[in-house]
């Protein structure tokens, strides 16, 4: 077995993200059906990939019960019509589930265990609300292993504001408004639609329909409007529904392959995996997670932050992005950061988001042959961060 091979990102797609709840786009749609749709679209878009050459299907979900249970990578592969010879599994690192699915299969590819894999994630937060069925060990609190706020993400975001007093609610709101504006522009410019999988939705009352766009974005959001929102996690706090990502339903998936196999099959490799890292932090300030994970990934890659031309950072909360930017000395409105906007507008179906970041970075790379390296990074509940550094295979080199 080869000890290491280059791993490339070939293609990524996602369903439009819906708002969770009884009136949401996917209120009566199963989570596994979203995954199936993604897998089938990946195969359709990449006709050079023989289905039997897929060596693994890794699908992340935070809540792995019901329609997100039954080892969803395997069950979705069967339901999607992949040959029964193709294995699959389910994986979980909460918000970084899909990211971890990618890094796990990438590790397998580099080691030579797989040639091609499908990795992705799903979260139907309407059918599976955050924290469904969890049973935290009482020792967490009894032994003060974590603060009582650690399991409530909004509280961890408030805690982060405490750690970075310079990051005010106003800065968070204006970052959020900018995210909405960037998403609206990206939609208007047709940057998002090419990687969306139109997905059939049905409600008993309204009949069949077709989801063709994200349900979450609120174009025209203003800082003034955001300033009036309540702060549900603390009286006179800073975190609002407007400067945080929403509660959403959606699925993502991508094709990852060994570089040499992509070439053999005639698959278009768009980015090369340079390095990845995960890191742990105090759970009550989980939003700082991307800082140590990015530092580690940079170190492993032998790069510095100044080598990074594009950042796709998950906007779980505006404050968590701003903390990252503050740490690395990057301006709040730096154009390298989330150029198409982020989760504050698109939404954040937990375990699916990692591959959305990669899919968007791949598309941005396509437009920016001048950029060589990009980062996808996100914070994770229970105090973690994850970072993947990618090289743009369309990079034109030093001029």
């Amino acid at each position: 077995m080869p000890s290491s091979r280059d791993v490339v990102f070939v293609d990524g797609v996602r369903t439009p993200f819906g708002k969770s709840g009884p009136k949401g786009l996917y209120a009566e749609t199963r989570a596994d059906d979203l995954v199936i749709r993604v897998i089938r679209e990946l195969l359709r878009r990449n006709p050079n990939l023989p289905p039997e050459r897929v060596d693994e299907v890794a699908i992340a979900a935070t809540t792995q019960i019901g329609d997100q249970g039954l080892t969803i990578g395997r069950s979705a592969a069967v339901l999607a019509g992949l040959p029964k010879s193709v294995p699959g599994y389910a994986i979980d690192r909460m918000c970084a589930g899909a990211m971890t699915a990618v890094t796990s299969v990438a590790g397998g590819i580099a080691f030579g265990a797989y040639d091609v894999a499908i990795a992705g994630g799903v979260e139907h937060m309407g059918r599976h609300p955050m924290g469904e069925g969890v049973d935290p060990n009482p020792r967490f609190l009894a032994e003060r292993l974590v603060d009582g706020s650690a399991l409530i993400m909004g509280m961890t975001a408030e805690n982060l504001h405490d750690r970075y007093p310079a990051i005010t609610r106003e800065r968070a709101d204006s970052f959020a408004a900018a995210s909405q504006e960037k998403v609206a522009k990206a939609y208007a410019d047709g940057k998002i639609q090419p990687d969306l999988v139109p997905t059939a939705v049905r409600s008993a009352e309204r009949g069949w329909g077709l989801a063709t766009a994200d349900e979450g974005p609120r174009p025209g959001t203003t800082v003034e409007g955001l300033s009036t929102l309540k702060t549900p996690f603390r009286p006179h706090g800073r975190v609002t529904a407007g400067n945080a990502s929403g509660i959403n339903d959606g699925a993502t998936g991508c094709v990852v392959a060994a570089s040499e196999v992509a070439e053999e099959l005639g698959l278009t490799a768009r980015m090369r995996l340079v390095s990845y890292a995960f890191a742990g932090v105090d759970p009550e300030v989980m939003g700082v997670g991307p800082i140590p994970s990015t530092e580690r990934a940079l170190r492993l890659a032998g790069l510095s932050i100044s080598d990074i031309g594009l950042f796709e950072i998950n906007e779980a909360f505006a404050v968590q992005v701003l903390a990252f930017l503050e740490h690395f000395g990057i301006a709040d409105d730096d154009p390298r950061v989330n150029p198409y906007g982020g989760a504050i507008a698109f939404g954040h179906p937990l375990a699916s988001s990692g591959v959305r970041l990669m899919t968007q970075l791949a598309r941005e790379f396509g437009e920016r042959p001048d950029v060589r390296y990009g980062v996808t990074t996100m914070c994770v509940g229970m105090g973690m961060g994850g970072t993947v550094i990618w090289e743009n295979l369309g990079w034109e080199g030093v001029k």
């Binding site: 139109p198 009352e205 077709l210």
Partner: protein
């Protein structure tokens, strides 16, 4: 219009729900109509008047808009739509009402083909009758390869696909394919085709896999609208349809001899479709629907359908299902052909060990070998997998002694049809099996009560009468002896259900239902021949009923020896009504298979055995004699309580003898021809109310 809705007072309304869909690639907006009756897939969507009006309203809303580029129609999960709601038909008393049903369907459905924008049917699930016709009215159709059933079953019931089906389909797919779907399939046990085959036959313009059928259909629709996909269909109207039509007509004559009007009307309408305008064609369909809806054949057809769909699933007089015992092992006494067939059926359906016994090693090996060979054939034909074949073969074993039945819960005997032999077998069994083990007999004519007499546990003996071939014939006559208890009977019904047979409870009476009536009926026809009626006159005297075969063909199928044996048994029981034909005995002695050769051509030598009578009857006299005998016998059976109701007689004749729907089995036909006096069924149950 309102009065029709009143006739369908308990209609489960299929609603047409409209929702806008943005088609991929910025093509524009499609109004997508979902047909949904609000229930799950086990209750498929149908169209009654209120459902049609709901669709009409949806189309009103769509037609009023100018921002749409197309209209789509699809169904709830697993079901597109399965046709007209026929529950209200029984209440139709006037031709005017019947006519209105046809007009209403046309008036609504045809709008789909006459909108200002193209219409698309996305056939996601079962599409039958009016459901398929709705799709045919659309400009384009896609179909899911997962659709299990596409059919126009109207002729099976006694109707025509008269909401556009007979006019649109032949023009779309040509006369041959249309005749197959409209006439041939319904008359071949109501055969249905799958989605992929429907696409192959030209019913749909595109086929997609079920996993993302709607998404891919919408993507395809967008490509059609952008002009990237061109749908080309051959013009069938310029061809010559006469050969296809003539071929179908001779097929109908051979099968029905004019007995059921619906398929003939359908054929006329198909023929008309080549040249008729839409208006002319649809009006002709309206007239045909009205005529057929006001005809007794259709009413009998609906009655029959209800019997096989409902009554067969809830047998009259069957005890509480909860009393049934679990069957973990089955014994079959005997290793002959019938026993082997039963063993295979038990093994396949119950998936428990089945032991055959015979005193003779060679016969036993042959019997078990026969079952294993049949399993190999199932494997060859892909009906079972290799693993399943291994499992089934391991389940079926043979034993020279009855000890192997010690842990069986159900033992059935299929030994020689002789009371003494059967009583010996039963008492031998009782020495081995547990006190609860059900002892079933496949006797076709012997008394269960007499068979059980003298046993320690006569309460666990029950009659379990299969029809030949066992794997194919759907009827099971379950016979309750004088001492049979409820638990035994409930177990017998449960086993029948597991075997996927339709069971009818029959009192312990000679030859039960089917054989008793067929023997009486054949006895009269043979009697007429004995008296001097020419064989071919007598044998064709009942052609007008459209029975599956003539009496002498049936004799051939049963075998003259068996027929003679049953006739003798029946003569012993009812000497006044059942006689034994000496000529038949001579035919048996001759060793010939019947009065026809093996290829069913007349055998003059065999026919000569029946010569010599001196008082011939006319065909009409034979017909009346046979039918009156049937009516008399049925009346006696009902008076004796052989079955609970005329409906059970009809169910038995439909499922056990293959007698046709348009006769309603038999009692509706005897009622409507005035032969039954008084009627067996009230007017309106299986006839047009008067």
């Amino acid at each position: 219009m309102t009065d029709i809705r009143e006739l369908f007072a308990d209609e489960i309304v299929t609603k047409a729900i409209v929702r806008d869909v943005e088609l991929p690639g910025g093509v524009g907006t499609m109004a997508l109509i979902t047909l949904d009756n609000g229930l799950d897939h086990t209750k498929p969507s149908t169209f009654g008047p209120a459902g049609l009006l709901s669709l009409n309203e949806a189309l009103d809303a769509v037609a009023a808009r100018s921002d749409l580029v197309a209209v789509g129609v699809t169904g709830k999960p697993f079901v597109f739509a399965v046709g007209a709601d026929l529950k209200g038909v029984a209440a139709i008393t006037a031709r005017e009402q019947a006519l209105r049903i046809g007009e209403l369907g046309h008036g609504v459905f045809r709008r789909l083909g006459e909108l200002g924008v193209p219409s698309f049917a996305f056939v996601n699930g079962a599409a039958m009758g009016g459901g398929l016709e709705l799709a045919l009215h659309c400009t384009y159709r896609t179909i899911s390869s997962g659709v299990p059933a596409v059919a126009l079953p109207e002729c099976f019931l006694g109707l025509v696909p008269g909401w556009g089906g007979t006019q649109l389909l032949p023009r779309l797919v040509g006369p041959d394919a249309a005749i197959k779907l409209i006439i041939e399939n319904p008359l071949s046990q109501n055969r249905m085709i799958k989605g992929g085959d429907a696409f192959g036959a030209g019913l749909a313009d595109a086929v997609f896999e079920p996993a993302d059928f709607l998404e891919e259909s919408l993507r395809w629709a967008a490509r059609v609208l952008r002009g990237e996909v061109e749908v080309s269909r051959p013009d069938h109207t310029s061809g010559d349809w006469s050969a296809a039509v003539a071929g179908a007509r001779s097929l109908l004559d051979a099968k029905l001899r004019g007995a059921s009007p619906a398929p003939y009307r359908a054929l006329e309408l198909i023929e008309l479709a080549r040249t008729a305008s839409r208006d002319e064609g649809f009006e002709a369909e309206d007239r045909a629907l009205a005529d057929l809806l006001m005809g007794d054949e259709l009413r009998a057809g609906l009655y029959s359908f209800d019997l096989v769909q409902r009554r067969a699933r809830r047998p009259a007089g069957a005890p509480d299902r909860a009393l049934a015992r679990t069957i973990t092992k089955v014994g079959v006494v005997g290793a002959g052909l019938m026993a082997s067939q039963m063993a295979l059926l038990f093994a396949r359906r119950l998936e428990v060990p089945v032991v055959l016994t015979d005193l003779d090693r060679a016969r036993l090996d042959k019997g078990v070998g026969h079952v294993h060979a049949e399993i190999d054939r199932l494997l060859e034909r892909g009906r079972v997998s290799g693993d399943q074949a291994n499992r089934l073969k391991a389940l079926v074993t043979g034993s020279l002694t009855k000890d192997a039945f010690a842990d069986a819960d159900f033992v059935i005997e299929a030994v020689f049809e002789d009371l003494k032999v059967k009583r010996t077998v039963l008492s031998e069994l009782e020495a081995v099996v547990s006190p609860e083990c059900v002892l079933a007999s496949n006797t076709s004519s012997l008394s269960l009560t007499e068979m059980a007499a003298g046993l320690r546990h006569p309460e666990r003996v029950v009659g379990f009468h299969f029809f030949n071939p066992v794997a194919v014939m759907p009827l099971l006559e379950i016979i309750r002896g004088a001492r049979t208890d409820d638990a035994t009977l409930a177990t017998a019904f449960a086993v029948g259900r597991s075997l996927k047979k339709s069971s009818v409870l029959v009192k312990d009476a000679p030859a039960f239902v089917v054989n008793r009536l067929l023997t009486r009926f054949m006895g009269e026809v043979i009697g007429a021949v004995d008296e001097g009626t020419p064989l071919e006159v007598a044998d064709h005297a009942l052609d007008g009923l459209g029975l599956p075969m003539t009496p002498f063909t049936l004799l051939q199928l049963v075998g003259p020896a068996v027929a003679l044996h049953v006739a003798e048994t029946m003569h012993a029981a009812f000497p006044a009504r059942y006689r034994v034909s000496e000529n038949l005995a001579r035919l048996v002695a001759s060793g010939k298979p019947g009065v026809y050769g093996p290829d069913l051509s007349p055998d003059p030598e065999a026919a000569a055995l029946f010569a010599g009578g001196t008082s011939p009857s006319t065909a009409e006299e034979v017909r009346l004699r046979a039918l009156r005998a049937l009516a008399e016998e049925i009346r006696i059976m009902l008076d004796e309580g052989v079955v609970a109701a005329p409906q059970d007689i009809d169910l038995c004749m439909i499922l056990g003898a293959g007698w046709p729907f348009h006769l309603g089995g038999i009692t509706p036909y005897l009622d409507r021809t005035g032969i039954a006096e008084p009627r067996f069924l009230p007017a309106g149950v299986a006839s047009v109310p008067v």
